[in-house]
Amino acid sequence: MNFDFSDDQKQLRDQARKFLAEKCSAKAVRVVLDGKAPYDKELWKGLAEMGFLGVAIPEEFGGAGAGHLELCVIAEEMGRANAPVPFSSTVYLAAEALLIAGSDAQKKKWLPAIASGEAIGTLALFEGKGNPSSKNVKLTAANGTLNGVKKPVADGAIADFAVIAARTGSTGRDGDVSLFLVDLKAGGVEVKSLTNLDPTRGQAEITFKDCKAEPLGAAGEGWSILTQVLDRAAVLCAFEQVGGADRALEMGRDYALDRIAFGRQIGSFQAIKHMLADMYVSATLARSNSYYGAWALSTNAAELPEAAAAARISATQAFQHCAKNNIQVHGGMGFTWEFDCHMYYRRANAMALGLGSLSYWEDQLIDRMRKKNAA
């Protein structure tokens, strides 16, 4: 058994960590946080040059053709660095949807553009309140034309294209939903930026008015494809969350060693030590669940749906737990704009919602475990 990343993959992790430490300092993140840029264009270009954007995209479509384990390794580092780039929407959602359901022509058009950093993509699924559910898809598609409103759409204001879930039937079942691909720079699209919890990754409202769209995958297969995309993205996001949780834990640990109060390092008080130990425990459980998700994703195992839900829940909890308690360890300083704690707190809580809330994934996990037990 080798339930761990290979030496090559660990080397890739070191390389990504080094690159991000250099190109994605907290100062660089703050440029986006403070609203001075919608995302870090230089970093995005650099990620493309390093081959990180196309690491899981096959070589025939302009990628490095390495695989999903390599992508997991990079995802963890993106989370650790709190990178202010549209990585998850482009690479986990748009690219994965194309890989699963795209025609050869669609893959040839968009995947090389993703790998080279020329195209930013996203998935437009939500329409206001509610979790992923075919019933919540109201935007309609008829004769290759979309009408309706999607929000929030992650990175919607900077995306070049979007995968869109649209209603094409009226049976009241999952088969009513189909996916479409839209070039957002073409006509019929109106984009409005939304303020949101985590300004380092933007959110938008997109209105489609008689917008031309091409089908992605077979008609009526949309929900089934989406479920696969969300499962894959859940594993990849879990690695980002684990990276973020680890970084928040490190920040808390370092501060506890540095800060003196009552004549002692505050890290010598059991109340602080035990809080940090609990952060370590939650991050470790999340890491282990995520490794299982990575294994299932990279081998396309039948266990993927269950593993993805477990990784999602565990990593969401861990990142929220570590980000929250990192601020607590920092005391009053942790609550200031000046310290970096809030950036991870924002990211943790925004990421907890992006693919559907915890209660959605709890439901998914229990359904999938029941199915397995029944089988």
Binding site: F3, S288, N289
Partner: protein
């Protein structure tokens, strides 16, 4: 990343599996499989006898104490082979619980500190289960603070005379031998005046009194020493070096890695899948599902954390302090799971024993669970270990560290 055995591991697994299939006491398999924390009892047999018979059979065929050297009754296996054996032994491995202290802690301590002739005499019958060992460390005044113990050993010619009391000694009532930590010099700071011995539990002056636990069972004991004579050649390590010797013992506790940690979750999930609440099946209930999902990811997180540790073992790495998380997480989880299972039963959850749901499995779990959070290091000690040895935070301030033992205050209020 894969879950595959190497060719050598696969061969070892196949051999082990075949031998277990041909030799295990299958008549107890179902009962052992269904036993969960707080309930390893056999209805129609004495579990100690069954355990001893299985251990002897393993020893005769070379499957006892796999990682011990052959000359002391083991097999000389690698740590990863030990893990594979545990996976294959499955529910029958529960029988080894009777020997866990002897095999996991006393044996390795003897190997590190006993004279060669003692090792050859005492270790093989320990490995084969013919002789059972216990560990006499904790005292009423020294639980988490083990170095605060008061049992005295005084030199008398070639012997030592021991007086005092130990507590929480698992299995002392059926043990043949024990390793014993004593105070030999009260005039130096507490960690420096300790000395370790091994002794025959049938020695005159040793009295074992079982403690009735909260669960009603009696797995632990108080052990009283009145002028017990121990020959000096049964000393383990140097006089005054008992603390270091005991650390070797405690470090070996950690290598019990790979053994499945009981969380109570599989039992709860199965129960909820069949339980009908007033409004329908429990597993359809939103609140129930949320609870289950939260425990599910803890249980799977522990499982895959242990697989990561096994991978490290198979690369030849040693188990580290990070493995403290298994007991820490599982201990309070099993307590919460049991509480919740009873909550789902409503007022009838109060009924225990054979008339209760699932023959009182969750009630038994509830009453045993507090012990898991204390034995082998409390939750608080586990958190300290993680904070200090994994995260590198400062050690606790110990005000008695440099004070001679006999000058340390013994009461809260003077």
């Amino acid at each position: 990343m894969n879950f595959d055995d190497t060719p050598q591991e696969a061969e070892f697994r196949a051999t082990a599996r075949a031998w277990i299939a041909a030799n295990a006491p299958k008549q107890y398999e179902e009962e052992l499989r269904k036993s969960s924390l707080g309930r390893t009892v056999l209805r129609n047999a004495n579990i100690l006898e069954v355990a001893k018979a299985w251990q002897k059979k393993k020893a005769d065929a070379g499957w006892a104490c796999l990682h011990w050297p052959k000359e002391y009754g083991g097999r000389g296996s690698s740590p990863i082979e030990r893990v594979i054996w545990q996976q294959e032994e499955g529910p029958f491995g529960q029988l080894s619980r009777m020997f866990i202290i002897g095999h996991g802690m006393c044996g390795p301590t003897m190997m590190a500190f006993a004279r060669e002739e003692h090792k050859r005499t005492y270790l093989p019958p320990l490995a084969s289960g013919e002789k059972v060992w216990c560990q006499l460390f904790s005292e009423p005044a020294g639980g988490s603070d083990v170095a605060g113990l008061r049992t005295r050993a005084e030199k008398d010619g070639d012997d030592w005379i021991v007086n005092g009391q130990k507590i929480w000694t698992s299995g002392a009532h059926y043990s043949d031998y024990g390793i014993l930590l004593t105070r030999t010099d009260p005039t130096v700071p507490k960690h420096k005046g300790l000395t370790m011995f091994f002794l025959d539990m049938k020695s005159p002056g040793v009295e074992v009194r079982p403690i009735k636990q909260a669960s009603g069972a009696s797995d632990f004991n108080e052990v009283y020493f009145t002028n017990v004579r121990i020959p000096d050649h049964q000393r383990l390590g140097e006089v005054g070096d008992g603390w270091n010797v005991s650390l070797t013992t405690l470090m070996n506790e950690r290598s019990a890695i790979g053994a499945a940690v009981s969380t109570g979750f599989p039992e709860l999930f199965e129960y909820c899948a069949s339980l009908m609440l007033d409004d329908g099946p429990a597993i359809e209930d939103r609140a129930v599902r949320s609870k289950l999902a939260n425990w599910a990811v803890k249980a799977s997180g522990l499982k895959y954390t242990s697989m990561r540790a096994i991978s490290a073992l198979s690369r030849g790495e040693r188990p580290g302090p990070e493995n403290s998380i298994g007991k820490l997480v599982a201990g309070s989880m099993i307590q919460d799971v049991a509480t919740y299972a009873l909550d789902l039963q409503g007022a009838s959850g109060v009924v225990s024993g054979e008339e209760a749901e699932l023959a009182g499995r969750f009630q038994a779990m509830l009453l045993r669970a507090p012990g898991t959070r204390v034995e082998g290091g409390t939750d608080e000690i586990m958190r300290n270990i993680i904070a200090e040895r994994v995260l590198g935070l400062p050690g606790d301030i110990r005000v008695d560290k440099d004070v001679p033992f006999n000058k340390i205050p013994t009461k809260g209020r003077g």
